[in-house]
Symmetry: C2
Subunit: 253 residues, 2 copies
């Protein structure tokens, strides 16, 4: 059996996701709840786990000596966080929850247990790693080579592509990050983010309702920046949401 399912073959992906949950359960991995805006790990901590996001969201970030922050990845349900430090002694970036979030901390040791790393789980992890690499590359393209306005459009489109079907299909995106955080993700200041969000709104490309953004002319926005839609399988949506075993509450950090 191949574990390179065709794109769009969602059933197969869902099957993998549930096998992942079964494997997590077998390995006694229990989800942990984190308060909004709490730091799940800090740069320099000993590496202990890779996290699978079950619900909510979290972002990986790094702080520079001059106080600047770069947000590296916005992890959504089904995503892995902390995978970049797999095999290292200490973690190289921090991880912070956005809103209340539930994560499975997968201990490093699990990655050497055959009972966890089954022939169904391994390819799932490969795909996840590849997908994250792809998203990081797209982020790098936006940050490295797009003007500020285009970066904002890129982020809106990417979040739209990665958001859940119900609101997604209505052309709506939930902005979980504030404008300073958006800036730190795109290599901009909060001031620029504000300016261009307002501009895009005035020009009728988007409509803003609180933290929701409605895409008015998605195809025009795509053309504006030459955006290629992301076609990732649905594991993204299901991997973090199947089981609901006993939940541990994280101690305050």
């Amino acid at each position: 059996m191949s574990f390179l399912p065709k794109i769009g073959n969602e059933d197969l992906e869902v099957a993998f996701a549930s096998k992942l949950h079964a494997a997590l359960h077998r390995s006694n991995v229990r989800p942990v709840v984190f308060k909004p805006g709490s730091d799940i790990q800090h740069e320099g901590d000993a590496f202990s786990s890779v996290y699978l996001v079950k619900s909510g969201a979290a972002f990986s970030y790094a702080l520079l000596a001059d106080g600047h922050r770069q947000i590296l990845f916005l992890h959504q349900p089904g995503d892995l966080a902390g995978f970049a430090d797999f095999g290292m002694q200490r973690v190289s970036c921090s991880l912070r929850s956005v809103g209340q979030s539930v994560l499975y901390p997968i201990p490093a040791a699990a990655f050497s247990e055959p009972s966890f790393l089954t022939p169904a789980v391994t390819p799932f992890l490969f795909k996840k790693a590849a997908q994250m690499q792809s998203i990081l590359m797209r982020t790098l393209i936006a940050v490295g080579r797009m003007e500020a306005r285009h970066r904002i459009v890129w982020l809106i489109l990417m979040l739209h592509d990665r958001s859940d079907p119900p609101e997604n299909s209505a052309g709506s995106v939930e902005m979980a990050l504030n404008q300073t955080e958006i800036g730190d993700l795109l290599g901009l200041t909060n001031v620029s983010v504000s300016k261009f969000l307002c501009q895009l709104s005035e020009e009728g490309f988007i409509e803003r309702k609180g933290t929701q953004i409605l895409l008015r002319k998605r195809s025009d926005l795509e053309k504006m920046i030459g955006y290629e839609p992301m076609d990732f399988p649905v594991d993204i949506h299901s991997a973090g949401k199947a089981l609901s075993p006993s939940i541990t509450i994280a101690k305050r950090r």
Copy 2:
């Protein structure tokens, strides 16, 4: 047995690398030679292989609608290229050789053959994927949040960390990329790259001998940008260099 070797446990890593070669050999994967500056794959091509760099170098890049280019990753011997598109129908970025390069094209199908994906190879691929993610994140930090001068210093230090021991320990780095390519990697123009390289040279931080760069005051450069050395295991150096089976010459593209 755990496959999370301690940092510095190089023997174990080398063992993995040679097992990778054995696995490649078993799967009838033969290295292919590419001429300097030739495109190994183009954005939009059907996805067929992940490449393991045996010698030389290659970079992944993307072209934007406005003609700008972002170089996403400089793949060195032992690195995987094209992994981000694993499981996709079409590849999302192009891949170009730097100097004459030899690559193993690992067919997608190999990733579903147990004969290739042995308990020794799988963790090696995980580590590689994690390492690439880590490097991408460091690139994003530099491009997103460092001023031009600091980005150049960052690149020099990173290339130094990733280069081979002989010249490495002498404080020397080979610059395989020209200044336009360096700019496309760092989100700058060739003009800025030239300006700051000259400046760093005048200030005595570096010395330039053709394409070689000698680091005069590495610790000062590290302090200047708050650089954390990368401690990646040695698989980098050995993974691409063990076997020398019959080599295929790539047809011109």
